[in-house]
């Protein structure tokens, strides 16, 4: 996955060979066209439509920065094993996976297991309901004996916390033109628990998101994000938009939440450290206590972090500096029609197409870029059908952060599936659209009223991202 150079070469190509197919899609024919709309990641954009599309370093990295990125690449792929070991010790004892890349395959998107498959890139957060004070904003309350995440795997000879049974029920939906579309409603049952779970436990499924372009999202100025917020829906468009404020463990204060399905992580350093800790059972200087602490699976760990600050830093840098793939076919008439429909249906009110990054200290390649992520980084109520009913700081049980849509048209090429949304319940892009409720219900209804041609155009637009 060290495809450094592919991206670089491609940029070179587009530069030199303007007239070939790649750039035809950038330059419109016979009409004025905003060519930069294909450059989803600004100067970090690469031109690759193969399964490597999410794994290429930003082409504008300096020599030293590229070196650091590649060190991070190696660590992102490092497989951990039971201690003691000469290579990568410290796994678990309870965990969800054994390397970063095992969930974020090809730096891309995970999916729920197919029938007869094991859970690989989908995990389940757990918590107790906050019954004491419904108004207070709190991090999720850990479940005694489980913490805030179900670790469904364990090192040999240690009990995993449990497993999950997934069932789906199909419900049909009929569009205005008579087209019937089935949505599958998931039902999750925690099974094989190593000790009884309380009856009232909150359970939230989370699929591994793609990890490219994240430095750009981290570099969006807080004040830009806050200008999109409209918590009380003052403009009465039915769309609110709410920032999450979450605990920053380094700064020891509340900070704007940016990452995770509920925007419950303030920055990528903490996101990466949490993933090592919660998902792999590896300690860092940010989280020195094992994830199994206080549980019978716990074994005395060393006082030095299992993952050094150096490794934590290069992995953070790695996900900060993965390139964003360019859009394809931006001047295709169907794609352009779909883009108009996307705006008309008010999708773009939350999936904001264009943003400008500010300064991300130490990462000049992502600073001051015009990008097309299709997110406002804010929480929105998505209605009861999508709700996980598990609040997370300011995010209610039915609120989710608008996920970026860049690269969404390449997920099938990179990851071999089209499972979308926080738990991969949607089996294609149209299902994902039709799951939108709450603040997005009006948009969904507009799309249900579209003709088949219009819906196809909308999908063609999304596939160009």
């Amino acid at each position: 996955m060290k495809n450094i150079i592919i991206g670089i070469t491609l940029i070179f190509l587009v530069s030199v060979v303007g007239c070939k197919s790649e750039s035809q899609s950038i330059i419109g024919i016979g009409k004025s066209f905003d060519s930069s709309s294909a450059l989803s990641g600004g100067d970090t954009t690469i031109f690759d439509a193969s399964s490597h599309a999410f794994s290429i370093p930003a082409p504008n990295l300096s020599t030293a920065a590229l070196e650091r990125h590649l060190e991070g690449d190696v660590e992102f792929e490092a497989v951990f094993v039971t201690a003691p070991s000469e290579v990568n010790p410290g796994l678990g004892p309870i965990y969800n996976n054994i390397s970063c890349v095992n969930c974020h395959s090809r730096d891309g998107r995970g999916r729920p297991p197919n029938v007869d498959e094991k859970l690989v890139s989908l995990l389940f957060r757990l918590s107790l309901p906050n019954t004491e004070n419904l108004e207070s904003v709190k991090p999720p309350i850990p479940v005694p004996g489980y913490g805030t995440q179900l670790n469904n795997r364990a090192i040999y000879g240690t009990q995993a916390e449990g497993s999950v049974k997934i069932e789906y029920n199909e419900h049909p939906l009929t569009a205005e033109d008579g087209t019937r579309i089935h949505l599958r409603f998931p039902n999750y049952t925690i099974t094989d628990t190593y000790k009884p779970l309380p009856d009232v436990v909150e359970v939230s499924p989370r699929v591994a998101p793609a990890v490219f372009g994240l430095g750009l999202l981290e570099a969006i100025p807080e004040k830009t994000i806050l200008t999109f917020a409209d918590e009380g829906d003052v403009d009465e468009d039915g769309i609110s938009g709410k920032p999450n404020y979450v605990w920053d463990v380094v700064e020891k204060r509340y900070a704007l939440g940016r990452f995770g399905w509920k925007a419950n992580q303030p920055n990528l350093l903490q996101q990466v450290a949490s993933a090592y800790h919660d998902d792999m059972g590896l300690t860092t200087s940010l989280f020195l206590l094992e994830n199994s602490f206080g549980q019978p699976q716990y074994t005395q760990n060393s006082t030095t972090p299992e993952v050094s600050d150096e490794i934590l830093d290069v992995v953070t840098f790695y996900v900060q500096t993965l390139a964003v793939p360019a859009r394809r076919n931006v001047d295709d008439p169907q794609v352009m029609h779909g883009e108009q429909l996307f705006v008309q249906a008010q999708c773009a009110s939350c999936h904001i197409p264009t943003l400008r990054t500010g300064l991300l200290r130490g990462v000049p390649s992502v600073s001051n870029q015009t990008i097309h992520p299709y997110t406002d980084m804010l929480l929105h109520d998505m209605g009861p059908d999508l709700a996980d009913n598990r609040p997370d700081f300011h995010a209610s049980g039915s609120e989710w952060r608008t996920p970026p849509l860049w690269g969404i048209g390449l997920v099938q090429t990179v990851n071999g599936h089209t499972n979308f949304l926080h738990d991969g319940r949607a089996r294609n892009l149209m299902e994902a659209i039709l799951w939108h409720g709450g603040e997005a219900e009006k948009s969904r209804d507009i799309i249900l009223q579209m003709s088949k041609n219009e819906r196809d155009a909308l999908i063609a637009f999304l596939r160009s991202l």
């Binding site: 996955m1 060290k2 495809n3 450094i4 150079i5 592919i6 670089i8 070469t9 940029i11 070179f12 190509l13 587009v14 530069s15 060979v17 303007g18 007239c19 070939k20 197919s21 750039s23 950038i26 330059i27 060519s35 100067d43 690759d48 439509a49 193969s50 399964s51 490597h52 082409p59 504008n60 990295l61 300096s62 020599t63 590229l66 070196e67 190696v74 497989v79 094993v81 039971t82 201690a83 070991s85 000469e86 290579v87 990568n88 796994l91 054994i98 095992n102 395959s105 090809r106 795997r153 090192i155 040999y156 000879g157 394809r328 099938q412 090429t413 990851n415 071999g416 599936h417 596939r463």
Partner: protein, 363 residues
């Protein structure tokens, strides 16, 4: 590596002006002055998918079957001769797998087969714990009860070879034999799954690649599928030059050596480059249309130069004295020569062949 880094800066500069130059180029195209006939990559992609990829995976699956027979024979009758046969069968199975690393995309990745077959390091603490336990060792137990780091090629390698080629049949415990049989059965299941995933009898991913073009959800253009072919070769050339050989060489650290139990590293590296050769020439056991025909049509000198660079890389790796783990300290100039030779292949792919592919219009 150095060259890329220089190139990075150069490209940063070019990047900023790319759209402008692009505009000028296209203006000419629109006037019809400079139309180049599109290349139909259909046959090449079909031969890549079937004559190279599916054929390699079929061979892998057959060899895994032979390995299973040999391991079962060893378990039945644990003689030194049977151990050596099983070791040879492991090496023979390893060969098509390493060649397949020139196209590590598609089902091998999306079905999680690469980690199940080829995870590193081996979790030796758990391996010992499993051997010391009373768990019944079956293929299903290996599949569902054990991590990827306790199964696959390197676990089997560890059990068959231990440290190098001096392993004695008389030292192999009964539990180790049971583990060997169970993990080889699961390896065979995985290789069958992989072959089926590309085969018309199964998910037929060969067809997905061969039919690249409009209406294909995975490869909506031939260009994206040809790019996939070239990216696969680039990835393994980079991995061999800058990872597999360089990492243990630079660190002088034998724990970083691939296939270190069997002392098979040099064959592993050579077969990686042979995988590039197979994709480029469009052949495995049979001959098909490779990328070479396309390259030759554009630049005959590049084609013949690249073919000899591949051969040179295979030979130069082969000139490193066995075992590789000793040569990283004892024969450093031979190892450095191999790194240079593979880097040359890597550079040609990136600097010359990928640009040709990018510049061309495919059907």
């Amino acid at each position: 590596m150095k060259f890329y880094k220089v190139c990075t800066l150069f490209c940063c500069f070019l990047f900023t002006t790319s759209l402008l130059i692009g505009c000028i180029g296209c203006g000419e195209d629109d006037d019809g002055d400079d139309q180049v006939e599109a290349y139909d990559a259909g046959t090449m992609l079909n031969d890549f998918a079937n004559t190279v990829v599916l054929a390699t995976y079929t061979d892998l699956d057959n060899k895994a079957g032979e390995l299973l027979v040999a391991v079962k024979a060893l378990a039945e009758n644990t003689t030194q001769a049977n151990l050596e046969k099983a070791q040879q069968a492991w090496v023979a199975t390893r060969k098509p797998w390493e060649q397949s690393e020139a196209f590590l995309f598609g089902p091998v990745d999306t079905q999680g087969l690469d980690p199940a077959l080829d995870s590193w390091p081996v979790d030796r603490v758990s391996l010992k714990a499993v051997l010391d336990s009373n768990d019944e060792l079956t293929a299903d137990f290996v599949k569902d009860g054990l991590e990827d780091t306790q199964k696959g090629f390197h676990t089997i390698e560890f059990l068959l070879f231990r440290e190098g080629d001096q392993h004695k049949a008389s030292d192999i415990a009964d539990r180790e034999l049971e583990y060997l049989v169970a993990s080889t059965e699961y390896l065979k299941e995985s290789t069958s799954q992989l072959r089926l995933a590309w085969s018309p009898e199964g998910e037929n991913f060969s067809h997905t690649v061969a039919s690249a073009g409009e209406g294909n959800a995975v490869y909506p253009s031939q260009s994206s599928a040809v790019q996939e072919m070239v990216n696969g070769m680039i990835t393994i050339a980079d991995e061999v030059a800058n990872g597999k050989i360089s990492d243990p060489y630079n660190e002088e650290d034998t724990t970083l050596v691939e296939s270190q139990f069997s002392f098979n590293s040099i064959s592993d590296f050579q077969d990686n480059i042979r995988g590039i050769q197979n994709v480029y020439m469009g052949k495995f056991t049979n001959d098909g249309q490779g990328l070479n025909e396309f390259v030759k049509g554009q630049d005959a000198a590049l084609d013949s130069r690249f073919q000899s660079e591949i051969k040179n890389a295979i030979d130069t790796i082969g000139a490193i004295p066995d075992p590789f783990r000793d040569s990283i300290t004892a024969n450093r100039s031979a190892v450095q020569a191999a790194i240079d030779a593979v880097s040359t292949v890597h550079l040609s792919l990136e600097q010359d062949i990928l640009p040709l592919v990018q510049e061309s219009d495919f059907n």
